[in-house]
Amino acid sequence: MLEDTDNAVIDRPVDPAIANDWFAVGQSGDAARGQTLRRRLLQREIEVRRDASGALSARTTGAAPCAARDHCGCIFICLGPAPKPLFALPEFDAPGRRFVYMGAIGVHTGGLRVVENFLDMAHFPFVHSHILGTEEATEVRAYEVELDERQELWARGCKFVQPMASAASEGEADVDYVYRVVNPFSPLLYKAPAGHAGEADIIFLFVQPTEEDDCTVHFAISLVDDSHSAGEITVFQQTILGQDKPILESHVYKRLPLDARIEVPSRADAGSSAYRRWLRQIGLRWGVEPMAAAAPAPLVVEVADKRSVADGVAAFTLRSPAGGPLPPMTPGAHLDVHLPGGWIRQYSLCNGPADDGCYTIAVKREDASRGGSAAMHDAVRPGDLLRVSLPKNNFALDRSATRSLLIAGGIGITPLLAMARHLAARDGDVHLHYFCRSEAHAAFRTELDRELAGRWTLHAGLTPEATRNTVEGLLDGSDAGTHSYTCGPLPLMQLVEATGTAAGWPRERMHFEYFKLAGPVEAGGMPFELTLARSGRTVQVPADRSIVDVLRSIDVAIDTNCEQGVCGTCLCTVVDGTPEHRDQYLSAGEKAGNMQMLPCVSRSRSQTLVLDL
């Protein structure tokens, strides 16, 4: 027996966040005098009646009456007891304009998804290829987003190059867009040829949400064009919506997720990020994906073997307790290892391509260790279980290289050993130069001799001058297909960088592993001092690193998602100091207030900054 849930009477009240909003349920002409329309809205059956005098009335089936109005060519319904004012659109009645209702189209997805798609320009080149965009011009230029005092969301200054912007277009044109969302389910778009705002087509995309994951879209336009028939205009716009529909119906979550960590925006998504933020602010629950982002599952490995591979260097073989393969790694990758005592340390993987059943890392005992390497050497034993991250790679091989020059210093051998093994296995042109204090300090000699015979050179116990001469010799006269990869003590890294630069190596062919994450957004700015109010810790944020990056390096956990200043996941409270806001998430007013900031991109104007962390 199937239960007829679709027609079950809903006794839950309408979500208060949208109860007093107006929803379009058709065009005014749908209800002639004396006629009754039946519509579904927010999981309720509605009867809309136009009496002999032309006045509208509405009621939910078997329940109280609700508000009904004609406005801008459409019939609007409000289910709540205190309807908000209907939006104002003075242009609608301006002389020379006409109104074309282009139809009601069912879309099997949540209405909020439809609105967000309408606010999005980034999909034009892919979904509306050769009409609203081309794959030759995909960049979305920066635009302004604002929630105004009437609680309407505006995106202004949006520009896009369009091959065919409307039924009336005669070729490629730069088009100005202004988006206006009058309530969460009702967006408008003012679309004009660049610099002709007064002649804007006003496109209505009023969503009639029927179920949480289903809706009907009322699609209409107010326009100045008098040369095209309503039919021609409708065909053009329906082509566009027809291209959107299969995409919209293919969302894994048909309801819009408001947990900022479920989906990852880019900076081009400032409009949709502001829209989602607004929906969070009004506390909307209906039609919203209820799932919260799950914490990533931890990976636990077993220490299968621990052995000394050089003076003060221990190698660890880590295996899966389930006896199967471990998540794949690429040469240059490292693991975050959670150590006894609460330390988190990054160790590069030394693996070759053949062994997918284990990870190999090597740890040098640092005399000045704050506890990381000492814990690995003294406390970790075969049979122990360790929590590790998935392999991460900030030091990947460049696939276009025809020759690879690997330069290792001391314990910096670890990622380069993995690179050398992978390159040698596919018979690549590779040579490894291994600088260390003495022969006794050279790790993995057995492996190097066995697997890389003739492809590696040991430089043991060189003076600084001899090291410089050797590095100069290595970097002399490279061809455009050669890439160098260096990992080792800072002086060696600096020597290679300076020598390579002087010898004419471009930066993109010199790769360095600094054991820090590279910020994806242009960093750059003044250095400043950062204090964490809760722990009292103080750190320096150098000119070329972000706050988030610096916090990670001192093991202060901070949730991030986009790392482009768009999603708001890392939002934190400013206790003292003046932030330099570089994000697109906070409003102008919030930025001026300096109470909050996004540490993934924003910095400090003052010499010191104190955050509530």
Partner: protein, 224 residues
Amino acid sequence: MHTQEQARGAFAADGWFPVELSQHVPEGQVVQSMLHGQELALWRPLAGSVQAWENRCPHRSVRLTLGFVDGEQLVCRYHGWRYGSGGRCTGVPSTPALAPPPAACVRAYMCREADGVVWASLALAPRGYPPRLPALAACRSFTLDIAADALADAIEAAGFESGGHPAVRREPGTDPEAATLLLQPMDAHTTCAHLFVATPLPAARRLAAARRMKALFAEELSHA
């Protein structure tokens, strides 16, 4: 009772399961599959091994099977975001000057291919390895409205034996038509049984094996 518990153990989510026949994932294409209720996008780059990813673009949660393979990358249909090895985002066309957001990473499941079968596991570190199936060839796949452990019980009751791997059952005997079934738990109520028989085998005998399995499933499922 004991068998039931074993069956549940055999189909626990940390194991390896068949998710598609290799021939159905040609080079440069992306296809949909299902394992333990998780929708998968299986795709094969122009150079490299087959991939089993969560069928969801991390940007807007659109299914990646709507997208296309470009060389060694999978491209989302919606905004053209590109994903390469390990599921990492390699390009965001709307912001070409910025590095892709580091969190924009498709969940890549572990995947292996052997003897004409694509195997995957939903676990980070799966139990053991997929089996080898020497001298066998795919014959027919049956999608059945029954849980994998119940189906395993039913075919064991009909005389099938363990095939040396939790997801494999074999018909005893040396007849080349003897069936080997690879069981793919699609979700809690649906199983795909991939029938393999000895190779080479004439078409008529392959057809006979497929008919025999179809009859067996009809018989067993009518009791389930």
